[in-house]
């Protein structure tokens, strides 16, 4: 049962490997960005689940509550999410420019065009 009790790690590992696989295996540049997003999302979950204190309430100060969850990982991951948004936007912007310059967003076609130069 111990294996199941650590289910959050299984989710993290599954998402991480899925994302990683998409980045490596897919030849489409947009799909690669989606893979990167999945990959980053897995780390978000790693951090968020780390902040959970069993029996802890949401970290808003109240007189009746003794135990709070740890808010720090959430704050950290908020920053990482913002970084992720910026990365995605920049990546997609690059794909748009690549599509304009090459007429395709497939990695193989781009390589073929570059080699023919």
């Amino acid at each position: 049962m111990e294996v199941l009790a650590l289910y959050n790690y299984w989710v993290v590992i599954f998402l991480m490997m899925t994302g990683f696989y998409v980045v490596i295996a897919s030849g489409n540049l947009v799909k690669k960005i989606i893979g990167i997003n999945l990959f980053q999302a897995s780390v978000f979950i790693l951090y968020i689940s780390m902040g959970k204190v069993s029996g802890g309430a949401a970290p808003i100060l109240r007189e009746t509550i003794q135990t709070y969850s740890n808010p720090l990982p959430h704050v950290l991951i908020l920053t990482a999410i913002v970084v992720g948004v910026a990365t995605t936007a920049l990546g997609l912007a690059l794909v748009v420019r690549i599509k304009e310059a090459y007429g395709t967003a497939e990695e193989d076609d781009i390589h073929r065009q570059d080699e023919s130069l």
Binding site: I60, V82, A93
Partner: protein, 138 residues
């Protein structure tokens, strides 16, 4: 999509509510969950909804790209400026205690200004993202 009356009316009703909620998340961030990041994104969501229904050119009429660029820089400058101000007042960078006559007031004012700066920049950047990608077809 602006030819569909239901969408048009619902959009016009919800946009003020979204903006108001963004303000709540922004200014209640001192006491409850909230803050500049979330508020900025919610605020921008209203503009994005407007753009989805009425087209990106309609959004550009409301906020021109020049103003957005200005706001992006101003928000960041507000954030950094608060830090410089606390330095000039004799504290460390972003030491809000120096801003008010007592630490409690200082912390309130400091976090308020900094989160406002964050909110402005995030909202402007999100709208810029939307216009940059969605506005290419126009």
């Amino acid at each position: 999509m602006k030819d569909i009356p239901v969408l048009r009316v619902v959009t016009k009703i919800t946009i003020p509510i979204i903006l108001l909620f963004a303000m709540y998340v922004q200014f209640h961030g001192d006491y409850g969950p909230g803050g500049g990041f979330q508020a900025g994104v919610i605020f921008a969501a209203a503009f994005i909804l407007y753009g989805l229904v009425f087209g990106t050119s309609a959004v550009r009429q409301v906020v021109s790209p020049g103003i957005l660029r200005l706001l992006t820089a101003l928000g960041l400058l507000l954030f950094a400026g608060v830090g410089i101000l606390t330095m000039l007042l004799g504290g460390d960078y972003l030491d809000y205690n120096t801003l008010g006559q007592d630490p409690l007031h200082g912390q309130h004012l400091g976090i308020f200004l900094v989160e406002l700066g964050v909110g402005i920049t995030v909202a402007a950047v999100m709208i810029i993202f939307f216009l940059a990608f969605a506005g290419r077809r126009d």
